[in-house]
């Protein structure tokens, strides 16, 4: 079986980081699949010949048997730093978590090799240190956690409190009721600690232990009823898949109850919970987290910082301004993906912006006050995510915009089209710049790539062709008609795509086309699929991606519809059998 890599790695990041990462590659692997289980009533994937597979010429999807349940490698995923912090927040409420969270994660499952997520020394040390602190915190605040029978009024009541602690705290920490053996181990730990300390110290020791277990730190999925290589997730395991996908945190009480009652064993129950969860405030974080993972925004945005820009060229562009631009970007992403009719079309095609007095001059808008307010932007100049000033500023240098980075984002991020990596081996010295002629950034790049010839020139024609659409946005994302007194030319060309090829007069025209593109819809679907599955993809995932793309296109790109279809599909409800 061929395992296909559908990874999209930011080409320009790789360039800066120097390790060129190929976007597509095939090696032998062991993706697992199985026959469709008989008890499943979830999303039904149509026959293979009804699924459109050719929406991306640079990597057509493969679908041989759409009835297979594709589970891929399904590795255990450790809670990310964000998930760890969110989980502790929800687990310990109303107590506040003291101390620092885990080291931040740049990589996300699904966007890097599965084995990139092993816990390192710093993670294990930080978890251990935090567990010790939290043990003390819980022990001294047992009365505030609403645990049945706790704190005990006297020695005789300790057993009842311990029982309440296991049911109320450990069950939530493990995201399922502990097994009999697990319960015994906890009781033994408590009993031993109680011999040398008082009740509250012993509870503290149990908390310290529980918060270092794999049951707490990993999203353990064992599944049951293994058949033909796949095993169905239990209701509690589904609850965790849903909550960590949609909230980046542990399941809430309602989800746990639904799991316990078997309501997550069928697609109606799952869909009902998904609809509820998407309305929750916590889902907003998912939108931003997904786009960060997709487009590497978390790394890229550091280039948009006020302090990263040239002070002479942009004297008013401070860290405060860039912070507001990024907050505006976050609000925009949340609204575009999870607001009314949210999805890829709105993300690319929206004319809204979240603006305040600091950022209005950059948007070319007017606004007063420090509060970010949603406004309609100038439709001739702005269109959706790609012209957000924070993103444009991130895809720029301190003084000048960077067409290559912008082009790579469009090709690789939005179209999932693989620009070739920079040439390997010896890179020939580049010619010295000709400073005798005044040129725009575009003219300078064309001249430079022209003089380099060969593979540099041919590749850059493709990359720059898309990137030049954004010539109207300077290094802080502000509109410019002229650059250094010279007229700006923002005409652009896209080639090699399924349905977005064309000559465009500017970014707005190009984005309007991209927003309607089926290749873009597939790219977005595939990327969200990767995010949701949190694992390396296999060739067999092609059926699901192709079908879900159909759904996205038919539903006018509605994200809630995509999430519902994805979470009720067998691939989301099963794991590969051990």
């Amino acid at each position: 079986m061929i395992r296909i890599t559908l990874k999209r790695t930011a080409y320009d990041l790789a360039r800066v980081g120097l390790v060129g990462v190929l976007a597509v590659g095939c090696t032998g692997g062991a993706g697992k699949s199985a026959s469709a289980p008989s008890d499943d009533d979830g999303t039904v994937i149509p026959p293979a010949d009804e699924i459109k597979l050719d929406r991306n010429p640079s990597h057509p999807l493969t679908c041989n048997d759409s009835k297979k349940v594709v589970t891929g490698s399904t590795p255990f995923v450790r809670l990310s730093a964000t998930q760890y912090a969110n989980t502790l927040r929800d687990l310990l409420a109303p107590l506040k978590m003291p101390g620092a969270p885990l080291p931040p994660d740049t990589l996300r499952p699904g966007f890097a090799p599965d084995d990139a997520f092993a816990a390192g020394t710093d993670v294990v040390e930080a978890v251990s240190s935090q567990a010790t602190n939290l043990g003390t915190l819980v022990a001294s605040n047992l009365d505030k956690l609403g645990l049945a029978g706790c704190p005990p009024a006297n020695a005789n009541a300790e057993t009842a409190c311990m029982d309440g602690f296991i049911k109320g705290f450990v069950t939530r920490a493990y995201r399922r009721p502990p097994s009999d053996d697990e319960r015994k181990a906890i009781e033994t730990l408590f009993a031993n600690a109680r011999k040398s300390g008082d009740f509250s110290q012993a509870i503290g020791t149990v908390v310290e232990g529980v918060l270092q277990t794999p049951q707490f730190l990993y999203r353990l999925e064992i599944g049951g009823g293994a058949q033909d290589g796949s095993a169905k997730l239990s209701g509690y395991e589904m609850a965790s898949r849903l909550s960590y996908l949609l909230w980046n945190s542990m399941p809430d009480a309602e989800l746990m109850t639904a799991a316990g009652e078997g309501a997550l064993d069928d697609s109606k129950g799952i869909a009902s919970q998904v609809q509820r969860m998407l309305k929750d405030e916590r889902a907003k974080q998912m939108a931003g987290d997904f786009v960060d993972a997709w487009l590497h925004l978390d790394l890229r945005l550091s280039r948009a910082a006020g302090s990263a820009k040239d002070k002479t060229a942009f004297p008013n562009y401070s860290d405060a301004v860039s912070k507001d631009l990024v907050s505006g970007l976050d609000s925009f992403i949340e609204d575009s993906l999870l607001g009314d009719k949210g999805g890829i079309r709105k993300l690319l095609g929206s004319r809204s912006g979240w603006v305040n007095q600091n950022t209005a001059p950059i948007y070319g808008a007017t606004s007063s006050g420090s509060q970010l307010t949603k406004i309609e932007l100038n439709g001739d100049q702005r269109r959706g995510l790609l012209t957000q000033p924070a993103l444009m500023a991130a895809l720029a240098n301190p003084e000048k915009h960077a067409p290559v980075r912008r082009g790579v984002l469009v090709l690789e991020g939005i179209l999932c089209q693989s620009p070739p990596p920079p040439p390997n081996g010896m890179i020939p010295p580049q010619p010295a710049p000709d400073t005798s002629v005044k040129r725009t950034t575009r003219e300078r790049l064309i001249a430079e790539h022209e003089s380099q010839g060969g593979s540099c020139k041919s590749c850059h024609e493709v990359i720059d062709g898309a990137g030049f659409a954004f010539e109207n946005y300077n290094a802080i994302g502000q509109w410019q008609d002229k650059e250094d007194g010279l007229d700006v030319n923002s005409s652009a060309v896209i080639t090699g795509t399924y349905d977005a090829d064309g000559n465009y007069k500017n970014a707005v025209e190009m984005i309007d086309r991209l927003a309607q593109s089926e290749q873009v819809a597939q790219c977005y679907t595939e990327t969200f699929y990767r995010y949701a599955m949190a694992r390396e993809l296999t060739e067999d995932d092609g059926c699901n991606i192709g079908y879900l793309t159909d759904r996205v296109i038919k539903s006018d790109s509605d994200m809630a519809s995509l999430i519902e279809a994805l979470t009720t599909a067998p691939g989301f409800r099963y794991r590969s059998a051990f």
């Binding site: 060129g20 990462v21 697990e182 232990g209 051990f578």
Partner: protein, 472 residues
Amino acid sequence: MPITFNRRRLLETFGMGGAAYFLPSLRPAHAATPPQRVVIFYSHQGTLPWMWKPTGTRTDFKLGPLLEPLEPYKKDLILFDGVDFKALELPNGKGGNDGHATTQACSMTANVQINHLTNDPKSRGKGPSFDWFLGRKLEAANGGRPPTPFGEQRFRVYDRLGDNPNWYRPLEDDKNQWLLPSVDPGRSFDTLFGAAMQMSAGGDTADNARILQRKSALDFAVGEFGRVANKVGTFEKQRLDQHAELVRGIEKQLQTRADSAKSCTAPPRPQGARSAAGNWDFSWKGFSDLSVAALTCDLSRVVFIHVDEVAPKLYGGINSGSLGGIDNLHDLVHAINVGSKDNQDANRLKTVKGYYGAHTPVFKELLDKLAAVKESDGKRLLDHTAVLWCGELPQPGHSPHNNKWLTAGSCGGKLKTGQWLNYDGDGIVFGGVRNNVPSNGDVFTTLAKAMGVNESFGAPGATKGPISDALV
């Protein structure tokens, strides 16, 4: 015998400038002979060979312009002028792509490149890396227990925001699992010096009770890892076992950590925070101070400091306007003529020189800190340490040959310092095989020998053994 717990006697002078580093040893008084240590300083993009190269003879030489700031330490240095990544010359040496990825994969492993998983950046060598190897050998020599409260320390001075991007991950264990360095000095401080802060204030009895409590919690966690690992497949089991092993490591070290907390004085916690505006000051100062403190207190004997691109302010940054539109260091170093100082664009060369040159004062600052600590035998901490400066490339071209590496410090008198070992007969070499020159595996094996480990490190066939010229 109970020792009175001396809580956080902060060293007010620590970190306040060069003179402040003339400190007495902070290690337990019972250790009469200071231990030997290894520090690895890992930088990117190679160097400019013609500006790195000394002139003169093996023992009477003048440092090249890029290394001039190290003049005060000339007698402490061994210049390994022309080390080859010989594992990459083996029949199966290169597993995938070329360039920085391949040389990075071999740089710390001295082994062949492998393609570990499908969408891997193909940048891994066959593990382990030298830091891990040395850590395990020191453990083995100590009866299977780490000789210090903490194992190897891995730090990454990362000026940008974000965490351990998937390029430049040269460290691995023996199962080719990445070993990710800490990017936050504050967090690393908490790990190294936090044990004391978690001790109770009630004296030894309470401390001992606390240690027992922590031990039982960790025991329990390890048991749960075993319980889960028994139910799952190989991949998951391996991951869980690796995690459990780290938990077990903490458990084993609880007592020694508690003891060290009583006998060693912690420096102040690194001040500052990581930010998008750049982390250099916080990160470099934090990690270099922490490295010296950890070695001084004998909390660890192996420290790896990964210096990503030095802060732009140290060399003026990349001014794309004057560099023909080049906006990052990678493209810039590749845009110069690596073979000669002639035929260069002046602005580009100036910036590249500035970039390479900016590393030397940074490295010197580390040596200053190590030299400022006087140990129980009256010698400098630097004298008991081997500080290796290495990286993934010899120069801006993608070559595995003729790397310019150096060490400072004699590692307890085991290294023959004050030498320029010139293996650079042919100048810059991009291809082919050079005979009679050492490999990076040979350099690592030399350091291992200096540390008392008589084992060869690196791919068989690519490591000949310790470099006798470098050893006393």
